[in-house]
Subunit: 339 residues, 2 copies
Amino acid sequence: MTTSAVQTSRGPVTRKDVARYAGVSTAVVSYVVNGGPKNVAPGTEAKVREAIRVLGYRPNAAARALKLGSSETIGVVVPDNTNPFFTQLAHAVEDAAAELGFGMVLTNSDGSLTRERKNIRTLAARQVDGVFLASCVFDPDVTELEASEIPSVLLNNAGSPPGINSVGVDLEAGARAAVEHLIGHGHTNIGLAIGTNTGNQLDGREVGWLATLRDAGLPDGPMLHGPFTRPGGYEVGKRFLSMANRPTAIFASNDMQAIGILRALHEAGVRVPEDLALVSFDGSLDSEYSWPALTTVAQPVKAMAEAAVQALVGKGRGDELKHQILSTELIIRQSCGCK
Amino acid sequence: MTTSAVQTSRGPVTRKDVARYAGVSTAVVSYVVNGGPKNVAPGTEAKVREAIRVLGYRPNAAARALKLGSSETIGVVVPDNTNPFFTQLAHAVEDAAAELGFGMVLTNSDGSLTRERKNIRTLAARQVDGVFLASCVFDPDVTELEASEIPSVLLNNAGSPPGINSVGVDLEAGARAAVEHLIGHGHTNIGLAIGTNTGNQLDGREVGWLATLRDAGLPDGPMLHGPFTRPGGYEVGKRFLSMANRPTAIFASNDMQAIGILRALHEAGVRVPEDLALVSFDGSLDSEYSWPALTTVAQPVKAMAEAAVQALVGKGRGDELKHQILSTELIIRQSCGCK
DNA sequence: CTGAAAGCGCTAACAT
DNA sequence: ATGTTAGCGCTTTCAG
């Protein structure tokens, strides 16, 4: 029994080993591995491939990144990956990036601006080719990003922040659709559950909610602030319930809050939608499996991810800044009173 | 007004630029940045730090990784990041890794073995210092990992797979706790909802469920297979409902299935826990906000992540293989009939 | 305490 | 079609 010449033993296999084994130069190995920039004779290519297979060669991405100045990776910063909306967004980004041969590294800032900045710095050091920032706040500190000189896009932002690409959703229109639907069910006292992290900018959902109410000649409903989380929604829900002028319908500005509100309602024995109707925002998977299933304003997660990836590493990149606003879609389920 | 000598313009700032600006050698810059391996005079250090600040220097992680043969990163492969259990696990890994100065890159295999393998390969190329594999299957193809020669640990695995570290949870004991609790509520016909992806190995939850029933002198309950997802649970739930000998309690082997089952139950007007009790497995956040809240066997996500990170890059690494089995905790809420 | 320099693995321009 | 080689930015040994 002949021992094969393979030396799996001594450290990792480099391109040099492959070259030696195949009896060619290192350049040829590169050409084969990268499919260019030069052509290689079929016979030679076969030899190289065989060597790669036998030796178990794996290109070293760090070396490649160093040489190329690009890691073929994009970084993503989300405030909270416990929120299925961001999870799904990240997943969509991963897919869209993979399509173009890019990897993704995902970081969480857990709602902390400090962490957000730190994550951006770490990503920059990692030579990512771009970063997507879904910030905790509406007007994030973009200076860190600008300083890093790496292309970036603000995800989940509907403004037109200066100096940076953005893709977001028409929050105001989405809110209008939700509130109009509720009005269509005959509600006249419609509350709003909204986030605490609005920064200086006004949340489009608040604007849309209020405008729709006024356009319909209805009084402003009660508005409550809370974190965009299940517990946050739970607290908000209890506070709505204890109001003297309790609303008969609530527009929750994200699914997590809505799910928290639902819990508060269930615990109090308030029936949804009979006693109190609910429409939420995001269209995450969770909204489909709550009880009752949530009527929700769905964000086009896939389209957002694709637009962002295109803006960063697609063909049109490097052009002037783009601010893309995508539209939402009202998904009718049971929590609003339909069916 | 003097223009500063800073040249933010021409490409990224390298360590050489910093050295020149500070009037020292590149080695000294390294010493300062890395806090070693040599000491630097305080005055010199100050100059270097100033240069770094002024120039906006950021170390190039790719170069560092190339030189060191380590990217100070660990890779994680999960089957489905839509499942909050994995999301939370990944988050815990991110935290535990950050603690030791490691970054994390998360990849999804979407339940596909092919993707799983591809992800492992990609991670290996990225020079990650270790990979955590939460596989889609119980006995994953570890050859890919072994071939890559990068240290790895199987997460979420309760066996003692040869040639690889593992950390998992005592599924059987967890299942026993769940089923015993149900028996304590007087149930005698207890069904099991379990996954489809058990591979060759028997799922400990099935073993525990069956053993507990038999130990109590109860007949084997009905068992149904379905994907570990909400829709999977929904289907399973409908099938349970249509059974001639419908169980009065179900042990669902993960939270997602339980949530799907809950939907099926609600739609059919079956009350939980009055008409049918439910206990699930995982203890993810979602289980707390379903209606009713799920009594669930919680996995110690944080401890698992820490154990895994320690096994990979902690001080004891490189020692012989470790197979760690952690224990679960039954969290009592409402779906079982308590309170 | 500081500096010079080798070399990590890879790519691609330039030679043959 | 294939080979040679410089150099990406960094770390660290070895010399001063």
